[in-house]
């Protein structure tokens, strides 16, 4: 691996965090007036914007409609200026398409789509600045946007990536760590029931370590969920005061 030491002997990481420490999460809901729901979320230096439209009548080919539940349509894109190298294609390549697909399946698991037969819910997520953990940040931002749109969900969906270095799981990887060749695992969790909505892992890892890694990821996700919970309650309070009759 590259010469960089991902975890110092003192137990500090490249950016000075402890192994299980998350990056700072900041978020705001209801950033757009026109959309049914929207949110902006920063996790460290990764920044994402999520917008939700719907549920609404299916536009385009009607054959996509499902007679027993809503279709979730996700689009993930990265701003051309989001990475150090200017991206030529903001969306449509294999990786983005896959990411859209993963977002879609994550929310299909969490959103109560059976309440809206024959309709469609659009979730658009854009990465404004990328510094690792793009998938997790998108999920977290989209969760807030879905809540803002008043669409029923079983629970929050929180996501986090974890890595594995020197027998130690590292929570919430940043770009330097991700590209440093550690085995990384991304996990989307419904924290209350401990259900995993999406699990994805890359690179080699011995079977015996899997459990510790999943455990660490679940803890990290629960950490994220606390922050999101605060954001939602704060927002709820502010708005409900305004509409107070």
């Amino acid at each position: 691996m590259a010469g960089l030491e991902l975890l110092s002997d003192q137990g500090y990481r490249l950016d000075g965090r402890k192994a299980s420490e998350l990056r700072k999460v900041q978020a705001r809901m209801g950033v757009f007036a026109q959309a049914d729901g929207s949110a902006y979320l920063e996790q460290g230096n990764t920044k994402a914007l999520a917008v939700v439209y719907g549920p609404h009548e299916i536009r385009g080919s009607r054959s996509r409609a499902l007679h027993d539940r809503a279709v979730i349509n996700c689009q993930y894109s990265m701003a051309t200026f989001s990475t150090a190298e200017r991206k030529r294609r903001p969306h449509g390549d294999r990786k983005s398409t896959e990411m859209s697909l993963h977002l879609k399946q994550t929310f299909e698991a969490a959103v109560m789509t059976q309440l809206y037969p024959r309709s469609q819910i659009d979730i658009y997520v854009k990465i404004l600045q990328s510094d690792g953990g793009n998938y997790s940040v998108c999920v977290n931002a989209a969760t807030l946007a879905v809540i803002d749109a008043g669409i029923p969900m079983r629970d929050y969906v929180c996501a986090c990536t974890v890595g594995f270095v020197d027998e130690t799981p590292l929570a919430d990887l940043c770009y330097a760590e991700e590209s440093g060749g550690v085995s990384s695992l991304a996990l989307a969790l419904l924290p209350r029931g401990g259900q995993i909505a999406l699990l994805q892992m890359d690179a080699r890892l011995h079977q015996d370590h899997l459990e510790t890694l999943i455990e660490a990821a679940m803890t990290a996700c629960k950490g994220v969920s606390k922050v999101l919970d605060e954001v939602v309650r704060q927002h709820l309070q502010e708005v409900s005061v305004l509409t107070g009759e």
Binding site: R94, I196, A197, L199, M201, A203, L205, Q207, E211
Partner: protein, 429 residues
């Protein structure tokens, strides 16, 4: 073109059957379908049959300039092609969700796990490296494409030989296989994907779902591992809720399955190597099923040429005269030869003979069935005998054709020696 819709009764039945631990084809919950690995004439060409699912992988290579950030590494490129042959729902040239999923999962499984030594593919640093391209074509879709794809891809990579290169100064020479023996790739480990499907919100779990099971499942968990029990990739898909315990259980099952499949691949590779060493032909002509009723093979045939010049003249005439004047060879009684005096029909297909044939073959069939019967008894816990594996066997009817008594009318008729076909069919038992 649309796929046939799934009706409610099928869905209900399948779910109920799964609850009772029964599967459509009589398998147990954690059983794989029959895996069959065959190779093509080329190096790096591999066919995998997983039950009725069938895929083909072909590895090819090319000298290209390396990527800027990795000047000393060869390039791996994967392409999973969902040919419309495999299912009417697949459209050509469209990036469907499934194709993205399979492509990315294969990349993740084989490239990100660094199973191939890409540094050994470097020819001239920063200038020329080998690009290894793996094309996987779906031929028939009956569920669990991912596992079939991963087996086919890794087997084809193991089977592949790239041409040797020599460097003299700035000159790079690529030697043809005749000049120098081609070189195999160096493969560190063999990641194999194992798919688990979940039903009824994760209550039930099946290994290797077939197409109809895939259509009623809630979600899928794909775990790629090697035989050293190292996980190379995990991917969940579909809207399922997993619990940690389920993931752990699946990873344990996967490690068992992976070691079985790895063994099978190694055996297949070894057999092929032996066959090639023995100098036998290992092309499709050999892999062509000999005993299928729907298959027929004809040895090298000479075309009788005695009246070619006449015919050629005839054509000249035709070109000049009106086409109607052609003595049109209407087949008065089909089945019997016509104008020319072609060689005798070499296939004993008179009805009598045929009956004899089938009688014999029935006897064979019986013994075969009995064998399998006892096998099944050992296999099946609970004594459910009727398993598909043997009813499938029923398709295989051996109708050994009579040795063709070709009349050597033509000079060109060469006798062709049949190489005993080493049947590469094996069941996973």
């Amino acid at each position: 073109m649309k796929d046939t819709p799934l009706c409610n009764c099928e869905r209900d039945f399948l779910l109920k059957a799964i609850e009772e631990k029964k599967r459509l084809d009589g398998r147990q919950t954690y059983d794989y379908r029959k895996i069959k690995i065959t190779f093509g004439t080329d190096y790096g060409c591999c066919f995998v049959d997983l039950g009725k699912t069938r895929v083909m992988a072909q590895v090819s290579c090319e000298l290209v300039a390396p990527k800027d950030n990795r000047p000393n590494e060869g390039i791996m490129f994967f392409n999973v092609e969902l040919s419309p042959m495999a299912s009417p729902a697949f459209e050509q040239g469209r990036q469907s969700e499934l194709s993205v999923k399979l492509n990315r999962q294969l990349e993740r499984c084989l490239r990100n796990s660094k199973c191939i030594d890409t540094e050994s593919l470097c020819v001239v640093s920063g200038e020329k490296v080998w690009q290894i391209r793996v094309d996987v074509h779906m031929l028939n879709h009956d569920g669990n494409l991912m596992d079939a794809v991963s087996i086919a891809a890794i087997t084809a990579l193991c089977h592949f030989r790239r041409p040797d290169v020599g460097i003299q100064g700035d000159e790079v020479t690529v030697y043809s296989p005749e000049e120098r023996d081609p070189i195999p790739l160096s493969i560190y480990h063999m990641p194999i994907s194992v798919s688990f499907s979940f039903f009824q919100e994760g209550t039930y779990l099946l290994v290797d779902p077939c197409e109809r099971e895939e259509r009623v499942m809630d979600g899928l968990l794909m775990i790629a591992m090697n035989k050293h029990r190292e996980i190379c990739s995990i991917q969940s898909s579909g809207g399922i809720m997993l619990l940690k315990e389920q993931v752990m259980r699946c990873s344990k099952i996967a490690s068992v399955k992976v070691s079985e499949i790895t063994e099978l691949i190694n055996k297949a590779l070894e057999n092929d190597k032996k066959a090639r060493k023995a100098g036998g032909r290992c092309g499709f002509a050999e892999s062509m099923p000999q005993e299928r009723i729907t298959a027929l093979k004809k040895d090298k045939t000479a075309v009788e040429m005695t009246d070619v010049s006449e015919r050629a003249n005839e054509i000249v005439q035709k070109a000049e005269a009106l086409p109607q004047t052609v003595p049109s060879p209407v087949v008065p009684v089909p089945g019997v030869g016509q104008v020319g005096q072609g060689p005798q029909n070499t296939w004993g297909l008179d009805e009598e003979e045929d009956e004899e044939d089938s009688d014999e073959e029935q006897e064979e069939q019986v013994t075969k069935m009995e064998e399998e019967h006892s096998e099944n008894k050992e296999e099946s816990r609970g004594g459910e005998v009727v398993e598909i594996s043997d009813s499938e066997e029923e398709e295989v009817v051996i109708l050994h054709p009579e040795k063709p008594d070709r009349t050597p009318k033509n000079t060109g008729s060469t006798s062709h020696q049949k190489v005993a076909a080493s049947s590469k069919k094996r069941t996973k038992k």
